[in-house]
Amino acid sequence: MNLNFSEEQRQFRDSVARFFADGWTSGDVRAYGRGEGDDRALWAGLAELGFHGALVGEDHGGLGLSFVDLVLALEEFGRALATVSAVETVVAAWLIGRHGTDEQKRRLLPAIAAGALRIAIAHQEAEAGYDPDGIATSGIRTAGGYVLDGAKILAPHAQGADCLLVSARTDAGLPAIFLCERTEAIPMARHATLDPSMPCFAVGFPGHQLPADSILGGGPDAAVLRDMADACAFAAAAMATGSAAAALDMAVAHARTRVQFGKIIGSFQAIKHKCADMAVALDAARSAIYYAAWALSQSPADAPLAISMAKAFCGDTSRMICNESLQIHGGMGFTWEYDLHLHLKRAKALEAAHGNATWHRERVASLILQAKHNGSAGL
């Protein structure tokens, strides 16, 4: 057991953080949210760092890293409010590397590693809730391949993607993930959402034709959908934790300088104790995502429980920290001009994505009771 991050792992985090410090300012975030800027420079800078290929094996031109190597950098994504598109692309690369056919890996992974392929995930449906069994989109076998029928919502960055990962049920009712090239034939409409810097799209598949080799892994497999949902939930938890860390830093910086009643407000216990509770909660959230990262890369049997714990805990924690930070800032925290609301909104959007805390807690309850009956210690 050694839970310290290595020098290389910290350096990777630092290089991503350094790039964000100049390459993706809150001004960029705001312009992007207004639809006035784009994230092409961000994307290119990350490609230079090899970020997109972080989880792609070296045989396909990637860095051959694991989620453990990546988790600190994912926190920086949250801290910088960087576009989640790159992260979803990394998750997709991991999923393809894990489940894809050799041909799919050869076709997609080198392009992803080079930063030449942007992938978006289209999974959520309006009436499905978070339950994977609730997916109604169908992918039915035809003579020439498959036809996708259904409607997805809240697919982040789908408009600018080259390729979509689409969850659907096949003929036998088994779930599958379809690799779907983004074409003009796929209707998209941008949602009005809480966090404009994370543009989300409704995506329609009205009898959309796909070639025969479109299923990730070659055939339907519930494990692929589960892994995709789990990896997305993990990444959202890690990014929400980064946003919470930024919100805590802002609260502490404000508390150290703001003067009221002739004193620095950080000297008041009412403020100190809030900050301490936020710091403790943030530290525990880090425990959650580091363990989830390890389980995802090293101990897949532990991953569902580890990830559900992390998503539930980090959702609650990021919400608490952003709320408390706003409270400490007083009126300033409520203004449009001040950056805190960008984190408040990003954390809230991530909290709702890929299973909220309530959904993941129910999954935790199921998993621990199951483990108890299977006689596995596991706890």
């Binding site: 057991m1 792992q9 580091y290």
Partner: protein
Amino acid sequence: MDFSDTPAEARFRAEIRQWLRMNVPQENGRRIAEPRDEQARAAFRLEWERTLFRGGWSGIHWPKDYGGRGAGIAEYAIYLEESARADAPEGINIPGRNLVGPTIIAHGTEAQKRRYLPGIIEGREIWCQGFSEPDAGSDLASLRTRAVADGSDYVVDGQKIWTSWAQYSDWCILLARTDPDAPRHKGLSFFLLDMKTPGITVRPLRQITGESEFNEVFFDNVRVPAANLLGGVNQGWQIAMTTLAFERGPEEALARQVRFARRFEGLLAAAERTGFNGRTIASDPVARQKLAQTHIELEMMRLNCLRGISRLTSGQQPGPEASFVKLYWSHVYQRMTEVALEILGPLAPLSEADPLSADGGVMQHEFLMSRASTIYSGSSEIQRNIIAERVLGLPKQ
């Protein structure tokens, strides 16, 4: 970063697990329950400490020169995990092993290490911690028990309070004022005091559980040799801070975590066999939310401890970070017991002695015990001040 055991750690885990299987006192395949009588319980726990010593498992992470095995802190963590998992009895010399030993290792003279550490490892000498006073609780530095130099001795007069296991203790780490004129943090000294010295009176205090773990201790003209000073005269505050960092630290907390997790397993079992109106507690959606949250928090407690232990392994000294661990676990503990009593619903008031109690009264007792956890070893309010001032850099009041 790797959560799994190295091959050497795995071997160590198998070894301690095997030893525990053979040595934890059992009857009909279950661990013998601790005696209800407090004196008998103390004897039972002390006997376990001696069993540990005979098996070579006492003070394993202490240096070999003083009777330890020189094991790393990761092995020690494994030892704690496995002991709690095997439901091994709790010892009674908890201050001795967790606070006094490490403090003496850090600050003692060679002679002091040779004199005191073997007694702790062998379960021969039980220690208590004489810090708090009736008028010096959270404001520890205001303590008034004084030690006045007299020849080659100091003469101690005053009173300590909340002194756990003092009635069973052979020795006491005593924080006393040796220079009443110095600034309050700079006039304190740290003594190793023989509890059999004339002039010491121990009076047990009854706790809200009805038990008497803690005590008042009175000192009337008690002579302690100057050789029993730990560290220099008037350096007691810094040494006491080391003791508190050990007390609040992740190794201490990890052992608690595994015990809490066992209690939680018991609660899950109770939730599955207990129900109302034809539905078990474990199938009620609201109860499931609360049980899941408790499991998550217990896991965060475990992971926090393991991360803390890893930092210590890499050479970081125990410091204010210990307050993160202590503040977190003490509230997790309280919330767990509150969840338990809430989901047990109308059965919650039934105590251990009542046959209809859903969990043998375990969580009710833990609910009461856990009230103390946010007070002892520095209240939550003090921990928050430490974190805010010494970790986050917020100004003092």
